[in-house]
Symmetry: D3
Subunit: 135 residues, 6 copies
């Protein structure tokens, strides 16, 4: 059950066509279909996502892994499934998936520990002083 | 203010020595000092972290970026500072840091949207059927 | 699947009757039914909710929107559905729903950014000094 | 301590000037200053925020209250202070602030309860069938 | 910096006197002082807390440990400090504190794993069928 | 739908046999089955969980209640069901379950309040000075 009704507007159709072309598929995910209830948001979100997730100084594959990590931390079941799928499609190996989960679990563990202990940030960790850091 | 009192045991000292050697530094972060109140947990956490964060099929630099992403999602101020520092020290460029924040923000946005809409997971996203995926 | 068994006590029945009268319906939501396993908690929660959500200096419609915003941030699927429903029933227009989602997404974005950057709170934001604020 | 170094670029200055004019102030909040390390993100975030938070079918005051609610749920200390400030400046009365906190606490409570009980969403709550809802 | 101004009303004073008597102390924590800006909420919260946290079928000490666990998961720095303090004052030993942290970390880990894997709930875990469970 | 494919390795079988023996059952929960896609993680997680959740200075029953509390705060539906089940099987009475929910709700409430108010931690709550505390 979703909270909205997809809308088949000209703008929605334009975005759907671009998704199909960009991803070389005929399938439009439920997320984009649901988002079409607000076709401006659909257009803005898709445009921004296409740009943000393009190959950059961080390779696309690692961007998808970061996406999976955030989605797990935010407990978004839909996003976990769609971005684990995307990462695997982009070539994430079984070993990389294991490493990804290990890093996420380790971060979760030390996040909880530092929070539980109320640990104070060390002065030496000040990354706003970049000159210092890179000496 | 922290919730615990560091303990200067032989096991703590052994871990501190290994941290200094591994990281080529004389400085022990507050996190490890605080964790020494429970020197077995200190030993286990450090050993696991050293193994998990080593160079693997996911390069160390990207592991640190994933760590930063999880720490932001979990809102752990200490961990954000220590792993942003570690990522920069490992060579994260300003452009990569911008890309990292962009991916995190995009993931956060679509996480919130999919949650708000209650979007149902598409059958085609079933990554447990790996044969299908990799055709 | 729920973790509890509804209980058809006299107190539960009294609350159900009040819900039906207050909301002018014959339908009792699953939430209230499940909560009847603990009929005192049912009574207390319903009484408090009826009071808190009544028309006040914040109009009821905006109270429902705030409820939706919190439920999305807390990722409570049940509550997102029931309060999006309630807000629409109270007259939330399509444009208002779009504005609501936009505000939630913007808040999420700047929340994540401020957390990522570790931004320090400005002294001028001290709202405990109300005299200052309202000059 | 922040993770970034503000950058005094022409684009940053342009945004700062617009913030000063729009808000009729000479003070630039730490958030915008920190964000200037990435002046494109600064420009995009400020432009979007100005648009999203403008008076609309949801009055500005209630938009700020929704912002506060999300910021509390996301535990963003900076954002809680800056948007509680903004809401008070926009005229939020003490009674409205009490009502706001009451709604947030009630939402939090029923969010936790519905999550704890694993309550199933009622079919009647399907807001994608808007015709039904508005009968 | 807090968002509110404490209010020294007769009702606040009555609650403070009860806190002092109940806890056998002359010190009023910042939390209760800040909450006095809304003396009805102060009264209600203190009354409910006194009742909920009293010795019951769950001993007081374990109630405080549960409180600490929730506060860590919710990342409430104030609450972590005040309830770790309360638990220690109630007799929590160093070994119990270590066990508490271990259970919290283990729960966090399997929470993240089950979320990452999208694991489906087993039919046999249906605790609403209590007769079945207790056979 | 899960993100992984269970793997029937010798190590998985060994863990499954130990689970069956330890819990005196023939049923393996979906969580352990899903985790077998990574049989080393399965082995490590099960071994650690068996140790952490054993009877200690915190009785097993209260450990399960703490586990339920964390799982609710983290919104892990699977874990809520499996550990509410485990707690009930370990003898959690209906009254204890009500008390557990009451403590969780109270902690959630004061967590949100302290976060909303930005309350500063009192110096007297410094539990790192244990000598002081235990006077």
């Amino acid at each position: 059950m979703t909270t909205v009704t997809p809308k088949n507007s000209a703008l929605s159709q334009q975005v759907f066509d671009d998704i199909k072309k960009t991803r070389n598929t005929n399938y439009i995910n439920n997320f984009w279909r649901d988002l079409s209830h607000n076709d401006e948001e659909l257009y803005n979100t898709w445009s921004a996502l296409k740009s943000v997730m393009s190959e950059g100084e961080i390779p696309y594959l690692y961007k998808e892994m970061i996406y999976v990590a955030v989605s797990i931390a935010n407990n978004c079941n839909y996003c976990i499934h769609s971005h684990t799928y995307a990462a695997k499609k982009a070539g994430m190996t079984d070993v990389q998936y294991k490493e990804l989960l290990s890093v996420i679990l380790m971060a979760n563990k030390t996040n909880a520990l530092a929070t539980a202990l109320g640990t104070q940030v060390d002065d030496v960790l000040d990354t706003s002083k970049e000159g210092e850091l890179r000496k």
